[in-house]
Subunit: 205 residues, 2 copies
């Protein structure tokens, strides 16, 4: 059954409704919003999506999304190329960048090892990471994967692969979140934050 | 400051974030989802939006969205053309159609009279409604506007405009919602549903 009086509308709503977290009602609201905009605005929206999908590249050094063969981050001479932060996705790069506290480079794995989902080491950018470390410039690898079973497995796999190179490896510190109330922290996190307690130097950290 | 390593990504996220209820984080999630799809899928998404905006028309009878000059609903001979349901927006047409209980035609006003938002009768499809009723075929006009001050004002304005034509006019019944618990119904609605109580015929209604 055709739900709307226009097949063009039907089609656009159907496309929006394919997006994650967007149901048909929200899809309709978004499409009608685009219809109320000047034609140029709606076309600009469509163009941005099509152009992105057609032209975006993956940086051949770090596998981050990029307009060019080597991404902006990798090609900035001011960044510390001896430190590489290993993350799962492009979103994680953005999250770390937003902290403004990291000046090294990245390596986007494209996921974590997850046998349940059929993702093995060969599906991830692990070989290219080993290659990158072996090429000699990298002094420290920061493993910034999710604190899950899969993340830990991947950390360990990478650790075994890089062990022989002698590169320094670190993981993100774990503990209670900034601004968290102690009583609401889960036991595993709170427990770990006691075991891994840090010397207090009188400064906020 | 450029937040992402790709200006193409930046642009697509920016466009998504202009949509109502979509923040930059959600926009990024949606864009990255489209990037994970096959190229044809993402292009189909963009095309559906652009084609809709370029080609969709407004039905010249009822002002609903349509692929053709006269919409599917208005051109169906099986529908009762003597009844016209006056609604605010295209969304309301879809809502009424989804009930499957209405077989008449529609008239989309494009909003309600709202001096606060600078919307007067001339900004709405009221003259065309009067014209349509005067042309003679319409026997009943159902006013299905929002139960708000603006909706009531618009109802009254239309009533005054159509009074002379002798057409029958009705409004949607108001009362407690199907499935509502009485104790949670607001006082105004509950009060009205007592005043406007209906004869009980032994059937569910």
């Amino acid at each position: 059954m055709q739900q709307y009086s226009s097949t063009l509308l039907e089609k656009a709503v159907g496309e929006f409704a394919k997006l994650p977290g967007i149901g048909r009602k929200t899809a309709l609201r978004l499409v009608l919003h685009l219809l109320r905009q000047p034609e140029a605005e709606a076309i600009a929206f469509a163009d941005a999506v099509a152009t992105l999908r057609r032209e975006v590249k993956y940086c051949k050094v770090c596998h981050n999304l990029s307009d060019t063969d080597v991404c902006d981050i990798c090609s900035q001479p001011s960044r510390d190329s001896s430190t590489v932060c290993v993350v799962e996705t492009v979103r994680d790069v953005i999250a770390v960048e937003n902290t403004s506290l990291y000046r090294g480079l990245y390596h986007v794995l494209g996921g974590v090892i997850s046998p349940m989902d059929g993702i093995g080491p060969a599906d991830l950018e692990i070989d290219s990471l080993v290659e990158r470390v072996r090429s000699g410039k990298v002094k420290e690898v920061i493993l910034a994967l999710s604190p899950t079973m899969e993340g830990d497995t991947t950390n360990f796999y990478i650790y075994r692969k890089l062990e022989a190179t002698g590169v320094a490896m670190s993981v993100l510190s774990r503990g209670i979140s900034v601004g968290d109330e102690l009583e609401y922290a889960d036991e595993a996190t709170l427990g770990r934050s006691i075991v891994n307690r840090m010397p207090f130097t009188g400064k906020s950290y």
